[in-house]
Amino acid sequence: MDSQHLNPSTLKSRFTARFLRALIKINAQKPISSSSPREIFQRYRRIKVAADKSMAYSVRSRRTWSRATLWKLQSRSRRRLASSGRRSSIKTRTTTTTTTTTTSTNHRAAIVEKTSHEKENKEDHVGLAVQAEELRELVPGGESMDLCNLLDETAHYIKCLTTQVQVMKKIANLYSLE
């Protein structure tokens, strides 16, 4: 386990370094004395985004889910710069939902076509389609993947999420000891 920490190129080390740097930046932005609930909430939002961002950057564009996350984050910051405070994100979110529905309908049609070939696994396939839809909503970028890729991406996504939780837990424990 120690060798993992020494190796600067493991996912854990890359994520830890990035996330800590982001935390330092967030901490430096506001004076510590002002800890109103609203500011704490804003900090919570920033920390959460920083955590997801750090993980996506540590994976880079090697995975569809990390590319989708990075694209989402970049388009969000671009929108924020363009609108200068006005809430234009609602419009874009609607567009994304429409795309999801279209793609998911196509996927559902493809999976239903499959069930006509295997009658004994019919129930399994129908349940599979429903669960696959739910999974597509949870994994970033899942809307445009076929089932094989979705499962592959999900496995990697879960591995990264567990690393993220592990590191965040360690940091929180260290902070609470101070």
Partner: protein
């Protein structure tokens, strides 16, 4: 036409094997759940459902930890803590 159908079905058969393999990979990543009827081969849908629940749990953990961190950041001294944490986590 028939050749296309044959190609489609063969693609489906290949995907079935791949899917089974990927599902077993997923199953290994999921946390152990003490179920009395675990001897029953978990159907693909069940594995996916467990996966969805696990991802939702992980998301919730990230939320809780972010919340904890946001409150902790408000109460600690910046520089000394950062240096100590970086040193302990990366060396």
């Amino acid at each position: 036409m028939s050749s296309r159908r044959w190609r489609e079905s063969s693609r489906t058969n290949m995907s079935e094997e791949q899917i089974t393999q990927l599902l077993s990979t997923l199953r290994q990543l999921l946390p152990e759940i003490p179920h009395s009827h675990s001897h029953k081969a978990s159907s693909a849908a069940k594995v996916l459902k467990q996966t969805c629940n696990y991802i939702k749990t992980l998301h919730r953990e990230v939320d809780d930890l972010s919340d904890r961190l946001s409150q902790l950041l408000a109460t600690i001294d910046a520089d000394s803590a950062e240096a100590a944490i970086i040193r302990s986590l990366l060396t």
